[in-house]
């Protein structure tokens, strides 16, 4: 929708900055902001007019865990767990590539060591998937089989991720490869380590699959049976 009249545009910008523009009107307005720099300018002007009211909120020291989580998340997003160092060092691309490779290897080793904790009756091959975000930073690993009283399960380790809001669900998908459609494996949670039961009849396909993907879906999971939201992590199956 285009907001044509200038007084209407300014009134909407004002209520957006004030916080009283809500629901579908707020979302529609935010979509318009994306490609309307003049509208963004009106919002910025209103934010600046109202900003002195921020002085009415008492400063409160946040608990230390907030910063720790932020640091974890930005370090994960930028390629690995490293402590803050000087600017020149961060600009070194070779360092970054090496870090990304090292963290991918570490992720595989971690998945393997976790998978081997479960006692196995006979040596058998294992599938490991290191799932990464769009910057190729590993975010979770999935491995199987997990031996447990005849149930087919996969083991998931989440190393770092965005916050899941209550209106979201994270859905794990098997990506068979070729032009076959993804198959839902179910919803996962934010726990660092978890197991997910998978229908036994899916296991042969799992063992032949190209890889796995995890998408952000509305609460309760994808309404269509296929991924509808953003793919947060994906990765290729590796047989070990």
């Amino acid at each position: 929708m285009k907001y044509q009249s200038e007084p209407l545009r300014d009134a909407l910008a004002a209520e957006y900055a004030l916080g009283t523009l809500q629901g579908s009107a707020r979302r529609r307005f935010e979509r318009s902001l994306k490609d309307d720099p003049r509208l963004r300018r009106l919002v910025t002007e209103w934010q600046s007019r109202l900003a002195p009211l921020d002085a009415l909120a008492e400063p409160v020291q946040p608990p230390a865990r907030v910063w720790n989580t932020i640091l974890d998340r930005i370090q994960l997003a930028s390629g690995g767990r490293v402590s803050p160092v000087s600017l020149g060092f961060w600009d070194n691309l070779t360092f970054w590539r090496r870090t990304a490779i090292v963290s991918a290897l570490a992720a595989i080793l971690l998945a393997v060591s976790l998978a081997t904790i479960a006692p196995t009756k006979q040596p058998q091959s294992m599938m490991v998937v290191v799932m990464s975000d769009e910057r190729s930073t590993p975010g979770m690993t999935v491995s199987w089989p997990v031996q447990q009283k005849g149930e087919a399960k996969i083991r998931i380790r989440v190393m770092g991720h965005e916050t899941m809001t209550p209106d979201q669900a994270w859905e794990l998908w098997m990506v068979p490869g070729g032009d076959q459609k993804p198959v839902s494996l179910g919803l996962i949670n934010t726990a660092a380590e978890q197991e997910l039961s998978v229908p036994r009849k899916l296991m042969p396909a799992m063992n032949q699959a190209w890889g796995l993907a995890m998408s952000v879906e509305p609460a309760g999971g994808s309404p269509t049976g296929l991924p509808t939201g953003r793919i947060m992590f994906k990765g290729q199956c590796v047989k070990l």
């Binding site: 009134a11 900003a51 932020i70 600009d91």
Partner: protein, 186 residues
């Protein structure tokens, strides 16, 4: 905002992916921003979550700041406010009501108003002076909506006024505010 503002300088270093600058930016601004989030959300766990997401967002989008033409604190506060408001407007989410009445007592419509607390910068004085030009109802609804993230509906039910009346107070109040402030600054 002047170029030598220390927060602006930290943000420029953050845009070059300097994590130490980001740590310092957090140290200098987090209490203020957390206060803003708590004021709107009134729940510590939600405010922590929103603050966390906001700072990750600030880090990821800090390069966009240069095009925003606002003061650095205004830019960061807008991110926190939008996150907090989105959080509140999730379906099926209700804040407890018990605090509202206290809240309304804290901003009576005939009091000198919060404008005396806004500070002494030129912008703050302009806003304070212009808030005084509004009617008590206009001033009260605008200040409550902004500082506590109240919706039209929440304001109407707690002020026990019809929704249309509250909407009109806000719309006319904002209109007068803009006319008054543009006159002062330009």
């Amino acid at each position: 905002m002047a170029d030598n503002d220390p927060i602006t300088e930290l943000m420029a270093r953050c845009a070059l992916r300097d994590q130490r600058a980001f740590a310092e930016l957090y140290r200098q601004t987090s209490a203020k921003l957390y206060g803003v989030a708590i004021r709107i959300l009134r729940r510590q766990d939600w405010a922590e979550e929103v603050l966390q997401e906001s700072f990750v967002n600030i880090w990821n989008h800090i390069a966009d700041y240069s095009t925003s033409r606002s003061a650095p604190m205004t830019w960061m506060t807008a991110i926190v406010r939008n996150r907090a408001l989105d959080w509140l407007r999730r379906p099926n989410l209700e804040r407890g009501d018990e605090d509202y009445d206290l809240l309304l007592e804290a901003v009576p419509d005939d009091a000198p108003g919060p404008e005396t607390l806004l500070g002494n910068s030129r912008d703050a004085r302009a806003l304070a002076d212009c808030l005084k030009q509004l009617s008590g109802n206009q001033r009260q609804t605008i200040v409550l909506a902004y500082t506590h993230g109240l919706s039209h509906g929440e304001l109407a039910s707690h002020l026990k006024e019809p929704l249309g009346t509250v909407k009109t107070w806000i719309r006319r109040g904002l209109d007068r505010l803009r006319g008054c402030m543009d006159g002062k600054i330009n």
